[in-house]
């Protein structure tokens, strides 16, 4: 129920990042989700990724909607402003905030109800605007907080706890993102931290909207036999396509480039993400092939994970708006107000 502060106990042996901060410095309050919830694993991976990127906590802005997933921004980076908005409305909040202050790293946490039902339109338009942010869908196919209704991502034939099968076609955020022209699309599994951390790092370095769909089984309402979003099901069906191996600019990157089957993509901030394609010829920059590949595997019932698509060339919100490199909030009022002389002059047009 209420937020529970985590005791800060720093072990002296904990590694420190460039800012001299340990992983613990990026934690939040204690999670109040069910024990074993996939969302907590995602939070842990996110904390790791942020720590590795050595982002100053106060330069992060956490935004979310409503639902189990949307509670989680309270569970990471205490030193960052957070905004737990209304159900489905996180994308507009993030868009407005980003328009005002582009200097922050925006992390949006959402769920399948939030993103694929009530807020589906907002998600689509945030993708179209290419708002620079990490947008995580913690996807479990079920409404947890209201106790177990199907969400729009539930697969056909997937059974609820009451053994009723879902008959409606699911909305797949990956296909959706691809068709809308999303510039960064990844999918992973909450239980696969090894894959999640580099994906999150790459997503945060991406110059535009980074959509990360994370299958995150609901231990309470959707982890039983017959569910297609249970731990067992996902582990058996997941197929890794590419591993995002994030290498910051400062470290040795040359060794990775040109390795057999690897595709290197230069990120907006100059760092490079290397994808070890599985199969070796998988190219996350070739939209048509990605489409075909995903279609092919989806029909077979396979969940393709990894960094699936990336485009580092498309203009993002601020380029589309012609706004400066710095935050609009930094423009002094004196520069914004045309003053009385201009008003007098202007009013000659109103005669």
């Amino acid at each position: 129920m209420p937020s529970i502060a985590k005791p800060i106990a720093q072990h002296p042996s904990l590694k420190r990042n460039e800012l001299g901060l340990t992983v613990r410095d990026y934690e939040g309050t204690m999670s109040t989700l069910c024990a074993g919830c996939g969302h907590d694993s995602i939070t842990a991976a996110l904390i790791r990724a942020i720590w590795e990127l050595a982002l100053p906590p106060h330069m992060i802005a956490k935004v979310s909607g409503i639902g189990c997933s949307s509670k989680t921004p309270a569970y990471f980076v205490n030193g960052a402003h957070g905004f737990n908005a209304a159900h489905g409305r996180m994308p507009p909040i993030a868009t407005g905030a980003n328009a005002a202050n582009r200097e922050l790293t925006y992390i949006g946490i959402s769920g399948d109800g939030d993103s694929l039902s009530i807020g589906l339109g907002h998600l689509c338009h945030a993708i179209r605007r290419n708002v620079k942010m990490l947008y995580v869908i913690e996807n479990n196919g079920v409404y947890g907080l209201t106790k177990g209704q199907f969400s729009a991502s539930a697969d056909v034939g997937s059974k609820s706890k009451r053994k009723e099968p879902n008959r409606m076609v699911p909305i797949d955020p990956v296909s959706l993102g691809l068709s809308l022209g999303a510039t960064f699309i990844a999918r992973s599994f909450s239980g696969d931290k090894e894959q999640l951390v580099p994906i999150f790092k790459a997503a945060m370095a991406h110059r535009g909207f980074a959509l990360v769909d994370v299958i995150s089984p609901c231990v309470t309402f959707n982890d039983h036999e017959g569910s297609t979003k249970s731990y067992l099901y996902v582990r058996n069906q997941a197929q890794k396509v590419s591993e995002a191996d994030f290498i910051p600019e400062a470290s040795e990157i040359l060794a990775t480039i040109g390795q057999n089957g690897a595709v290197n993509v230069t990120m907006h901030d100059g760092s490079i993400v290397s994808f070890k394609g599985v199969p070796p010829d998988y190219d996350p920059t070739d939209r048509e092939k990605v489409f075909a590949y995903l279609q092919e595997h989806q029909t077979k019932g396979a969940i393709v994970t990894g960094l699936l698509y990336i485009d580092e060339t498309a203009p993002q919100l601020h380029e589309l708006s012609g706004t400066p490199e710095y935050a609009l909030t930094k423009v002094p009022y004196e520069k914004l107000c045309p003053g009385s002389a201009a008003l007098d002059q202007l009013q000659e047009d109103f005669r």
């Binding site: 129920m1 209420p2 937020s3 906590p57 106060h58 330069m59 802005a61 935004v63 921004p73 309270a74 205490n78 030193g79 960052a80 402003h81 957070g82 905004f83 737990n84 908005a85 209304a86 409305r89 994308p91 507009p92 909040i93 868009t95 407005g96 905030a97 980003n98 328009a99 005002a100 202050n101 200097e103 922050l104 339109g121 907002h122 689509c124 338009h125 605007r129 601020h318 708006s321 012609g322 706004t323 400066p324 490199e325 935050a327 609009l328 909030t329 423009v331 009022y333 520069k335 914004l336 107000c337 045309p338 003053g339 009385s340 201009a342 008003l343 202007l346 009013q347 109103f350 005669r351």
Partner: protein, 628 residues
Amino acid sequence: MPQPLLDPDVAAPLEKPVRVNDFALKLANVNGTGSASANGLLMQAIFRMGIPVSGKNLFPSNIQGLPTWYEIRVNKDGYTARALDYDLMVAMNAQTYERDIRELREGGYLLYDSTWPLDPSLRRNDIHILGVPFAQMCNENFRDPRERVLMKNIAYAGSLVAVLNIDMDIVEELLDEKFAGKKALRESNRRALRLGFDYAVEQFAPLPLRLEKMEANRDKILIDGNTATALGCIYAGATVAAWYPITPSTSVMDAFKEFCERYRRDPETGKNNYAILQAEDELAAIGMVIGASWAGARTFTSTSGPGISLMNELLGLAYYAEIPAVVMDIQRVGPSTGMPTRTQQGDLLECAYASHGDTKHILLFPANPHECFEFAVKSFDLAERFQTPVFMLSDLDIGMNDWVVDRLIWDDAYRPDRGRVLDADEVRDLSHFFRYDHEDENHVAARTLPGVDPKAAYFARGSGHTRTGAYTEIPDEYQQVVDRLARKQKAAAKFVPEPIIVQHRPASSEPRMLGSGSIGVVTLGGCDQAVREAIDRLEEFGIIADFMRVRGFPFNDAVEAFLDEHETCFIVEQNRDAQLRSLLTLETGVVKEKLRSVLVYGGFPLSAKHVIEGITSQMGEKILAVHR
């Protein structure tokens, strides 16, 4: 001397004496045919002649082919609310001849296109009929089919210039300005203007409705409320605007964009010191405003009633999480889609209590474009001072019609009131920061912006929270916060604009009305001019009434005092359900029974006639007593 072409059967006598600078004309057109620019031209020419004037565009929710009207009222004494008695009707739409001719007052003048004969059944014996073959003359003089249609409008403008004595030099000057650099168009317009003018001079004597130059507009401008609102947002320093297109608010953002391109583009870098986000819907528009405001920008949205309905959810969030938000509501006729191009004051209650749960907001009611400019700036100051949504309730009449108002004035000493926002240094001096703690005398707690300092971080939420900002489901902790919000909203009463009050003391010590006590007339927004005119004319009925125009909510003390001081108050407003009256009864201690309503809500701007009828009809017996 040529005479007006009177009805050949029974000629009404020509009126004497000549009425100078005091009459109303109505122009009936088909929309999408270019009449708006001709009508605007006439109105602007009269404005430049220095005569008090108003122009009301009564247009359909349609692109082309439906009836549209434009009304011009000139009045040397400054009474320029909508008139309902038309002295001159320019009938250019055969679809509406019947109605238009019927609306003309007895002894009035009808100007119509005599290319086609007027159906004899439409003729009236008590009016003067002036026929000009506009279509024929344009067909003979112009070749391009589109030009033939467009120039008919300029041709009738030319005839009006002749019969009403509009200054031709001023009209020519306006055309020069409008078509600067478009030589061919300028020439076509000049020719069409002359065609109509010459025909009228040859065929008709000047009408006994005449315009003569005055000096009433020296310090005035001609501007619509939406342009003035946008200008206010520019001067207030708004950098982020989010919106979804909706009539009649769209021109707010159109104007904002234009001003931004003019004043906000960095001359050195070419970069825009503004961002205008056309959202996917109004839910997103207000969401973007809340996000941008949370991040520290001055930001607003412009919308109308249906948009407010959609924004309700997030308005509650902004109220509860205490995030400033400015909403420009350009009201139109509801409910539902209603009549999008008609005016109403129907959003008062919706805005006052927008969103579920206990919510209460700050409202501002501008009466004209001049106040739109001032109140727009004030909206931002109040939103940030009180960390809450502020609604400026304009309407279609104020927003989309050109009004003659006092020149806008700007004080260069103005600096935005950002309210209580802690900067990095202030945060560093604190041992800890709690978002909703340490309220000031207005019950406002300090906020922080993202990106300042890790110590300043807090979690904004629409869920139950304590004064530290932490999640809660505990009754006392919850109530502590929402009780402060109620006190905070109340405190804003001292900061919203005071009402405008005009006392009309009776000349003698006699009571204001035989058998009655003191009378007050209370109104808001764009009803202002009509109500003031009505009060002046009510003296003819022996009714002396005081005037109050409410300009903000929560109501300040002066509002309640006025209600207390008067035995009877007529509340004049443009909605069916007496929303201002309801709000006054709910939010002041006034006795409900002494508030009476005058309600005009059909969608057209208010006229003094409506108000006089509304008040006298409720005082029927008392008025009779006076005249007895």
